[in-house]
Symmetry: D3
Subunit: 190 residues, 6 copies
Amino acid sequence: MPVIELHLIEGYDIDTKARLGRGLTDAVRAVLPADPEAVTVLTHEVSAAGYMRGGQNRSPAPALPDPVKTVRDFLRAMEARDLDRAAGFLSEGFEMTFPGGVRMTRLDELIAWSKPRYARIAKTYTGFDTAMTEGGPVVICRGTLAGAWPGGTAFEGIRFVDRFELRAGKLWRQEVWNDMGEARLGEAQS
Amino acid sequence: MPVIELHLIEGYDIDTKARLGRGLTDAVRAVLPADPEAVTVLTHEVSAAGYMRGGQNRSPAPALPDPVKTVRDFLRAMEARDLDRAAGFLSEGFEMTFPGGVRMTRLDELIAWSKPRYARIAKTYTGFDTAMTEGGPVVICRGTLAGAWPGGTAFEGIRFVDRFELRAGKLWRQEVWNDMGEARLGEAQS
Amino acid sequence: MPVIELHLIEGYDIDTKARLGRGLTDAVRAVLPADPEAVTVLTHEVSAAGYMRGGQNRSPAPALPDPVKTVRDFLRAMEARDLDRAAGFLSEGFEMTFPGGVRMTRLDELIAWSKPRYARIAKTYTGFDTAMTEGGPVVICRGTLAGAWPGGTAFEGIRFVDRFELRAGKLWRQEVWNDMGEARLGEAQS
Amino acid sequence: MPVIELHLIEGYDIDTKARLGRGLTDAVRAVLPADPEAVTVLTHEVSAAGYMRGGQNRSPAPALPDPVKTVRDFLRAMEARDLDRAAGFLSEGFEMTFPGGVRMTRLDELIAWSKPRYARIAKTYTGFDTAMTEGGPVVICRGTLAGAWPGGTAFEGIRFVDRFELRAGKLWRQEVWNDMGEARLGEAQS
Amino acid sequence: MPVIELHLIEGYDIDTKARLGRGLTDAVRAVLPADPEAVTVLTHEVSAAGYMRGGQNRSPAPALPDPVKTVRDFLRAMEARDLDRAAGFLSEGFEMTFPGGVRMTRLDELIAWSKPRYARIAKTYTGFDTAMTEGGPVVICRGTLAGAWPGGTAFEGIRFVDRFELRAGKLWRQEVWNDMGEARLGEAQS
Amino acid sequence: MPVIELHLIEGYDIDTKARLGRGLTDAVRAVLPADPEAVTVLTHEVSAAGYMRGGQNRSPAPALPDPVKTVRDFLRAMEARDLDRAAGFLSEGFEMTFPGGVRMTRLDELIAWSKPRYARIAKTYTGFDTAMTEGGPVVICRGTLAGAWPGGTAFEGIRFVDRFELRAGKLWRQEVWNDMGEARLGEAQS
């Protein structure tokens, strides 16, 4: 039933308006059990001259990149071992925490750390969630891992979840959980 | 810079309006790098007689429970082994997936499954994220586990993350990842 | 798809808001082929102190009576030959035009005129249409007449239509067309 | 006193916006005795990307044709005996009811039926009313008929009223009442 | 032609809403030559829970006192030589400039300064203007002075103008101009 | 905290929108002690076809000239003794009142009147206030005069204030107060 009106300074592109519209729809539907068809978003665009705060016109800030796209692009670059490209998605102060609570800050550390753990790895995604915190958006991506153990045996279907915090459109925190410990434990016990 | 107007049928309580306002603010801030101070939400409440869709007045649906509160209450009941109370938070068709990809649908199955894994367990929360999907809200809670192995040795600081999907205010899916496999592997190898 | 916001000074009753909401919905649907479910009306009520035109607060005028109800009540009074009550629905300058182009201004004239035409008469309504003109609303009611000719023979199913113009909530013009001429012609020719 | 805001997806032409504006003004004035000068309509046009229902952008449906224009064009074609053109204004399932309750569905039936009733006929219009029903708009047109009886005697000033129901921009029902029975009765009795 | 919507947190009294409405009407009419009747102000009041900036609810600040009333009350107190009451209208840092460019900060200084200039004095007001500056409102009051010279001769009709700047509802600057110099000059030259 | 929405027919230039926005911001801040940053103005522009009052589209009236600019331009022309240009800023019925209550209607009268008072004069401006009255805007400008007495002695720093009323964008009343009487009195007494 709710109607949401969003007032923006004109100039945002179609994709940004769509992201805003979906986000506002979701925000309402997280609280009210409204039939999606009944949630209407109207985005009003005022001219830059027609917007004033504190008696002064303002320039609209460029939209942030889509956080899911940022995460996907980063993970694709990592999978391709294109560390330069991957590093371009990281904000200053980036920190990652991997299974066992291992903290690292550089991508080459991660590569070194993973070497004794698996020979190769690829991700299949089940889904991406985007949440919002006071500091910025959070992306949770989950799915399964396939690859080969250092000894060459293949594995697949190992569940994982990655949680990314973004700051100003860049990745700032990555936390990783997965069932590789369980899998290796199973292997060790077999 | 954006102003958001939300039009509701009157009758929602203060907490619901606050949840809506924060959700809308977050939805905008996930896309636009606006200074929080510059995001204004105005919630207009129209009388039931003053709202019409398709030429007909509508009754406002009761707000959904706060999904984070639902998750917290469920986890607290589980920790207290109050399975009856915990079951009250579950929707029909509830399914949970635990480390190793173990799928269960009943809480007593879970209790049975965990018995050989640990003697007791308690969660400390680092944070909760709320995302929205087409089907409904998703809550991701993360933190650390403390407890004792079946042999009695204590453990603590083991990272975990739980992902809950809600349907109509109830828990519908639970997925759990944690570092217990890593920890047990470490223990087994020591 | 359209959303209509109506801003009123507070104080109108539920029925008035419903009539306004339906009228606005119909007005849009007369022009746009929108699914009724997709036409939303939001009626915002501002306090009398919060409404100003030309720098001055205004008092909201009382709503006009429902024109269909006025027509129904007038026709019921006429059928009951309660001319006093019926006259209460007429505005100054009321004029009626009956089949054959007969113009009258007083209800007793009408009674006298109808005497040689039928012994008694009753209306069954098929429907009421409400249109709007610059001067005010127009009600068109149609249906069938049943009764008895002066000689006592019964008749029924004779089609009629009445068109009423209202001014300031009162009936100002009545125009009547029906198939009684056809029926009498048929009788005369039989 | 009322202010009406209409929110549309951009793209409608000037004439459509004028029809919407007048319709909304009339809808309010049918209920509230507001000075016309005090009824303001503001039509806000949002970009297609800025409108969302159920989280999805929508395409604006083309406006329906002006129902009065449709009726006028149909009647002009009938008067010119251009049955092909006239038939183009009819929806599937069209049905007409003429004086005496005669029901027809094809325009050539009507021509055949009218042949013994008059030799030629032309309409002069007094006015058109547009009402709205749940099914669609209704046009009531009234005026006088002039022409010649089958025997060649001219007649004029015979009152008529036509009521048209439209569906999806086409004529679906036509009901006709007039004083021709009265006139023929007068002639027969003279 | 313009319509102004003002969104406030609910709770302001009628007088405050009227002052806001008149101020907004005047602000538009200073720029657009609109017929006053055509300038509409709608004041929407949202509940405190329904207003959020930066994701946080806010308390509405109490309205400032009417600056014209403040000036009138101050001048009345001065005329009655009620310096205590008059001082209550002054903000910290108050400064006044009188004819000849005489600057003073205390009301008793003013009394002392004026003693050799006139024996008594009273103001008749022609009008009050209220302007707005970045620092706060400004009130300009003008009219005529009547009284008696130190020698006892009466005078009247001497033009004056006072300009007051207010800060946070208190008087912060007073500037006075009048024709007393001209009058005394005339007297001296006569 | 307040949000102001202004609805205009599209077509006003950037400067007009800025003047409107600042005027509306000031109007609110004269009544509510809001942090300037918290006062937002949104100017919505509807197409000419999308605006209707009394069921009729309207043409937007051209904006009035900026009254401060009009006053500045008039005073500059006067200072340059360009009476023709200065007269172009005056409305029919213009009247000015100078120190001592001297009323004049023609600029050459003023020149004649001032001749015995000073040999030359120039204004330095401290500030301009713009107020609004029912009749139109009022500009108050104040500052100091510098020049030479008829005998040739220079003067400077003499305080003045001018109050202008405008009608339809032209100057209609000018009232002048200054300390020249005080200064001449001082000179006479010295």
